[in-house]
Amino acid sequence: MARHQFGDKDVSASCRAPNDIPRARPEIRSPPMPSSVPLITRQFSALGRYSVLMLGAVSTLTEWGTYRRNIGTQMMRVGVDSLPIVCMATAFSGAVTTVQTAYQLVSPFIPDSIIGAIVTSSMVLELGAVVTGFILAGRVGARIAAEIGTMRVTEQIDALESMGLNSVGYLIVPRVLAGIVMFPVLYVIGTFVGISGGLLVGSLGGFVPAGDFLDGAREYFQPFDPVFGVIKAFVFGFAITSVSCYMGYYADGGAEGVGRATTQAAVLSCVYLLLADLVLAATLL
């Protein structure tokens, strides 16, 4: 039997195992709308296609055999491989926040411990999740859109469908699940590194003693803050990976279309990330 390569995965085993092969879903890909259609109509249409795609992904969650081979690899790529750049970015964010807060606090009536409170709250509530989200939107979102888009324009997804594999379950679900699971992990580790970076720069730079920094952080700490951050991380992880999958899945126009889809995936991920940030802050805080 010929070995079938889709992306970087061998699906021959799936084709050989009748029990693991899900029934092929009806084609959920609709033809692209012509540019003569008004923008608002196209946007609503895109929202509808995105919703249908995600519902299709949800409906395949129970088909563990479809994506179980992929999910470990995707979690590795989305999470573990992103750890160094996320840690570096959040460490610098914490350090810069410490220096700028110390620069702005010139009143003798404000204790130095406020610096620790501001840096910790900023990292836990906002910077830890948003900086990590921007990093993942550029690194992971673009890669997902490029991978799936290339498979689309080279008709590998059509081949999957023709072999009876559910392309949504096989390609999209593991990536979205990896984002949902690994983004909170990146958020927690990144926030920890960011606060440590702020503490280190504050004490070594003479801006605030380490004891005062931690005292301020404890004084103003609210237990719901990290819970809110984790909730944001779940939402950001879903938004980035699902939007990127959507852009790649509906890419067309050859190599140029893949490039366009990749760029749009990164940009739209950042936009939706900020939108979700605002909505969550307005509703949960």
């Binding site: 590795m76 573990v80 103003y220 700490f221 609210q222 237990p223």
Partner: protein, 309 residues
């Protein structure tokens, strides 16, 4: 050694979970591995107390607030919190809410009961000692303070009005005083203009005088020697005066004895009969000597040469 993807992902997830749990306990100022137990209290006013605020004993953080809600049975604020198991919360312990809500730094203080009391069990209830916070106290005193400020402002307005009237009245003392001051300043200015050359000359002389003084004193050695000589002189004068003082003391003692009639001189000075007897003796001796010079034979006729040698 190559690790599988699943192992790396698992380690990352466990690491994040550990950081999350220990981080929250650390920032809540709770012991990372020791257990805590729950307590409850009721307040009339939460004063901004929210879950996560710290619980302190004598300024030491021992726990944090878990839940703040309205008790439907009595419409009071029910607070559930946990504290470290090592804290000796005994019967008689009370709670109090302190801190400034405006700054977001509200906390619950435990006022521990006497050491001999029974320990409060987990889930136990502690009474609250209601004390108004700083802002509430200020708000309560605000009407009185505003009245005082109002009176002060009225007084200030009266002072300003009378001052303005005085200044606007051409015949007022203030106006006259200002005119006098103005004319004095003008005269002084004219004098200074007229005597500018002399003033300059005087200042030059003062400058040269201070320079000469500086040169005279400038030799630090000569000044030190002069001071040393002066100091020696003063020391010698001091010793002389001390001797003189001692002498005067002796004279004073002697005069005292004489005045009291002690000693020969005292008796001579203070006893007039002795003086008179001495005087009469001296008169008699004088008469005897006169008689002896006039008639020596009367006294020497009985004296023999042999007896003399």
């Amino acid at each position: 050694m190559k690790y599988s993807n699943e192992l790396k992902v698992g380690i990352s997830i466990i690491l994040a979970g550990v950081i999350f749990v220990l981080g929250i306990r650390f920032f809540e100022d709770l012991p990372l591995f020791r257990t805590t137990y729950d307590l409850e209290t009721e307040l009339d006013d939460a004063a901004g107390l929210i879950p996560g605020n710290v619980v302190r004993v004598n300024g030491v953080t021992v726990g944090s607030v878990d839940e703040v809600f309205i008790n439907p049975e009595n419409n009071r604020v029910r607070v559930r919190f946990h504290v470290d198991r090592d804290v000796p919360v005994r019967e008689g312990t009370e709670t109090a809410v302190s801190g400034l809500d405006a700054l977001g730094v509200v906390r619950m203080d435990l006022l521990l009961g006497p050491p001999g009391g029974e320990p409060v069990p987990s889930g136990g209830f502690l009474p609250n000692r209601s004390e108004p916070d700083l802002l509430t106290s200020l708000a309560n005193r605000a009407p009185v303070l505003l009245d005082q400020v109002d009176r002060v402002m009225e007084d200030l307005g009266g002072v300003l009005t009378s001052s303005r009237t005085q200044l606007e009245d051409p015949a007022s003392d203030v106006r006259m005083l200002l005119l006098s001051v103005r004319s004095t300043v003008g005269a002084l200015d004219e004098t200074l203009r007229a005597e500018r050359r002399r003033v300059s000359s005087i200042l030059t002389n003062v400058d040269s005088l201070t320079g000469a003084l500086s040169n005279a004193v400038g030799g630090g050695d000569s000044l030190a020697a002069a001071v040393q000589d002066l100091r020696g002189l003063v020391r010698r004068m001091d010793a002389t005066l001390a001797g003189l003082d001692r002498t005067l003391g002796g004279v004073d003692t002697l005069l005292g004895k004489i005045n009291r009639g002690e000693g020969t001189v005292g008796l001579l000075v203070n006893d007039p009969s002795l003086y008179r007897r001495t005087d009469s003796v001296l008169v008699s001796i004088e008469a005897l000597l006169a008689d002896f010079r006039a008639n020596p034979g009367r006294y020497l006729k009985e004296m023999r040469i042999v007896d003399l040698f």
